[in-house]
């Protein structure tokens, strides 16, 4: 099965953890190919070194001057081609760290050999990460995602190449649609924040643009192409209407509007999530917010009709509740409260007919999408903060890490920035640090990992990199990428990511298939007509 593709070089040092191989010029060995070499020891033991090709070099042998190449192509100077490949060792079996011997044949690993090289053979629970360059499946060890040995995924990449959220949804699709979760699949939930466009509002519709060849890719990963069947979509209520109507564009059907009542706002102490600008720790503002929050929790707010009334109520009592603070701090509080009222006020209502229905319930469906893309930044923060806090408390109360709950959040740099403190950052950090034991898995994404709170990134077992700005790729946060991978991160095509996972000492380049669920209205709408559902067919004779 495994085929010889070259021999260990003798002109460069061969080491137990990396070595060079000479490759015949006609051999189409490429980056990311998985190889193995054996070394027989004097005592009869056979050591197998598995590795991945991460550098490939071709040159003219015998040339001494740069212009020799012209003489060679003119047919005057005889030169030979030499191709060499650098291999980073991923696994040594048994663990006897000896260098491979120059001259030993190197094989391209296939089948069981490849599984061993990439540790797939010891992954008892694995989920699909995508396909390697040569079309073979690449798995992730689920134990490093479900909290048993690690948790969380962090995805970095520039925006606009449709990679980060698509890959996050692909991971969820793989987890939910492989047999991995077994009976727990029904109780496992995912919460996705739709922060940009309406891309994620059609997850339950099959994608009509899916080409036939993509189905084969899904099959290779052991998946059936399809959509997220059990989906709940929440959108903010429309401003300036008393009726509870979701504020969405392309999709209105099946969308539940969400809002909070003033009573919920006070009882659940949500005021702090209006003050989510990153603050300096020394600021007194947080303390004023806490004081007002605790007073509101005990205040009778039944008579208040909407958020403006609540603001007026707070202003009335401010001298009483927070009299001991400097007037500057109090006016800063007031200023921020008023500006928040303008942005977030419409989400907090005096009276809602069916308050329970309009509250976001992440346990209602397998996958819940919360659309916040057309809210102001401040309101986005408020919604994310409140929902995550609620989710965190729910999980804490349940006291068990199963069933798992996944949270997909893009633009982490806004919510968990490296500098400063904010209540949302607090929740996200808590999730990154304690979520593992609570079964709360964060799939976070951002353009630049260098601007994210270090602990959020550090706690992620899976690090995923899409196309990166080359300057960003040089930041320390990407130290897990070897030099050649960093350079490649600058030219990754959509649908291609580099994934690092704890067990494999080298990040792998994977391609993931085109989404089989609709990512925009056109992909969803056409599916209906393509299926032959002609609304006028009754009128034809």
């Amino acid at each position: 099965m495994s085929r010889e593709i070259g021999k260990v070089l003798g002109t460069a040092d061969a080491q137990p953890l990396d070595f060079w191989i000479a490759v015949p010029a006609e051999e189409p060995l490429q980056l990311d190919d998985v190889v193995l070499v054996r070394r027989a020891l004097a005592d009869g033991q056979m050591v197998t070194l598995y590795g991945i090709v991460d550098i490939l070099v071709a040159r003219h042998e015998g040339a001494r001057l740069e212009s020799d190449v012209f003489l060679a192509t003119d047919g005057v100077l005889p030169l030979t081609h030499a191709v060499k490949a650098h291999v980073t060792v991923t696994r040594v079996e048994p663990e006897i760290f000896v260098p491979p011997m120059p001259g030993e044949p190197v094989f391209k690993a296939a089948g069981e050999d490849r599984d061993k090289a990439l540790f797939f053979d010891v992954m008892t629970k694995r989920f699909p990460l995508g396909l390697s360059r040569d079309g073979e499946p690449v798995h992730g060890n689920f134990e490093f995602l479900d909290g048993s040995r690690g948790a969380h995924v962090n995805i970095s990449g520039i925006s606009g190449v449709a990679t980060k959220t698509t890959y996050a949804t692909f991971l969820l699709y793989g987890i939910f649609h492989s047999k991995l979760l077994g009976a727990a699949a029904g109780n496992t939930h995912a919460l996705i924040f739709n922060v940009k466009g309406e891309d994620l509002l059609f997850l339950d519709k099959p994608n009509n643009s899916l080409k036939a060849d993509q189905e084969a890719l899904y099959a290779k990963l052991g998946l059936q192409p399809g959509a997220f069947e059990d989906l709940a979509i929440y959108a903010p209520v429309r401003r300036e209407t008393l009726e509870m109507v979701p504020d969405t564009g392309a999709r209105t059907e099946g969308v539940t509007p969400f809002a909070w009542t003033v009573k919920q706002f006070c009882e659940e102490r949500l005021l702090r999530f209006l003050f989510t600008e990153a603050e300096d720790d020394s600021s007194q503002l947080g303390s004023v917010v806490e004081r007002v929050e605790s007073r509101l929790a005990h205040e009778d707010v039944r008579g208040l009709d909407g958020f403006d009334d609540l603001v007026a109520c707070i202003q009335r009592h401010l001298d009483d509740w927070a009299g001991s603070y400097a007037s500057g701090t109090r006016s800063a509080f007031e200023r921020r409260l008023l500006s928040a009222a303008a942005r977030v006020g419409h989400l907090i209502r005096g009276h809602v007919d069916d308050a329970e229905r309009n509250v976001i319930n992440w346990r209602k469906a397998q996958v819940t999408v919360i659309d916040i893309h057309n809210l102001h930044d401040r309101a986005k923060r408020f919604v994310i903060g409140v929902v995550l806090k609620r989710m965190f408390e729910d999980k804490e109360k349940s006291g068990t890490s199963r069933p798992l709950a996944f949270v997909v959040l893009d633009e982490l740099n806004k919510y968990a920035p490296r500098e400063g403190w904010s209540p949302i950052k607090d929740v996200i950090l808590d999730m990154a640090e304690r979520g593992r034991s609570l079964g709360l898995i964060l799939i976070g994404a951002e353009q630049t990992a260098s601007q994210i709170e270090r602990r959020v990134v550090a706690n992620s077992s899976f690090r995923v990199v899409g196309r990166l700005d080359l300057a960003e790729a040089q930041q320390h946060e990407y130290a897990f990428l070897p030099g050649p991978s960093r350079a490649r991160a600058g030219i990754l095509k959509p649908g291609t990511v580099i994934v690092s996972q704890p067990e494999i000492p080298i990040p792998l380049l994977v391609q993931f298939p085109f989404p089989s669920w609709a990512t925009r209205e056109s992909e969803a709408r056409a599916a209906v007509t393509a299926a032959g559902k002609d609304p006028f067919r009754k009128f034809r004779s």
């Binding site: 015998g62 003119d74 005057v76 005889p78």
Partner: protein, 314 residues
Amino acid sequence: MRLLLDPWPADYEAPIAFDAPESQPEVDVTVETGEWSAFPPGEAGRDTACCFVDGVRRVEARILADLDTGGFAHGLFGSLAAGYVRAAGCKAAFGDIRVARFLVMGNGALEGREFPLGSSTLSFAPCPAVLNTPEGVLAELQSRMRAAEAALAESMAGEGCVFVDGPSYRATSRFAVVGVIKRILNPYLGEPQFSLLGRLHKGERTPLFAITDKTYNRYSCYLRLSDPRALDHPLAGIVRIEIGAAVGVDAAKSLAGFAAAVLPSFASTAMRDPRAPQNLLPVGALEQEMRRRLGDSLLIRRAIEKELHEQRNR
């Protein structure tokens, strides 16, 4: 007095070294034309394959043998290689490269040696030398190399035009093989014919002249590979070619014309080869490749030392 440069570095033997030979062979300068003047550069189709045959030799270690019969013999462990480059169209590639090793000894001593080096075995074949002197055993190694070159050239009959370094072509008398001589040792020509050399331009050649001596009859001419700089001696950049008389004067003319047309394009430059332009580019690359194929000299020297050391214990 005017001083002019001989462009080869001083560590090489001089390219122009007039030796007074003991017997001057008979030279006929009228075989091609009655008028002694330069032939202009010709056109040659690049599709005709040009093969360049060359050899290298290396003394791995000099030895002295104590003979069982008394007395001693001079000898050496020597390696040699013969190979060729085939250039046709836009492709130049190494052809067959043959490596041989000999234990050359004078005084009638005849013995081979075989010993391991790493995972391979070094095998020095027995080879008697006529003269029992250090120069004599070296000359034997040299003649073995010439023989290997000739055998290789002969095996390539029919391969376009075959150029052989030095006089080795003589052993292949039946074939159309051109010998290329880099150094001018015997001018063969007297005045006024010889002075034409200094006036040759790149690609031009002298008319053929016939050399008749006791050992070998051949046709020869001088041709210029590249124009000398103003400070170089006018004889710099000139090679002499030889063609066996057996091929006939017409075949010799066409071979000489072809050589004058193609060889300047294979001429080396000073930055690529110290013996530029006479050491042709394919030949320089071939020498480098053949030396590589001879193996690492230090390792072989060590292996020989080990072998000689262990022989005392046997």
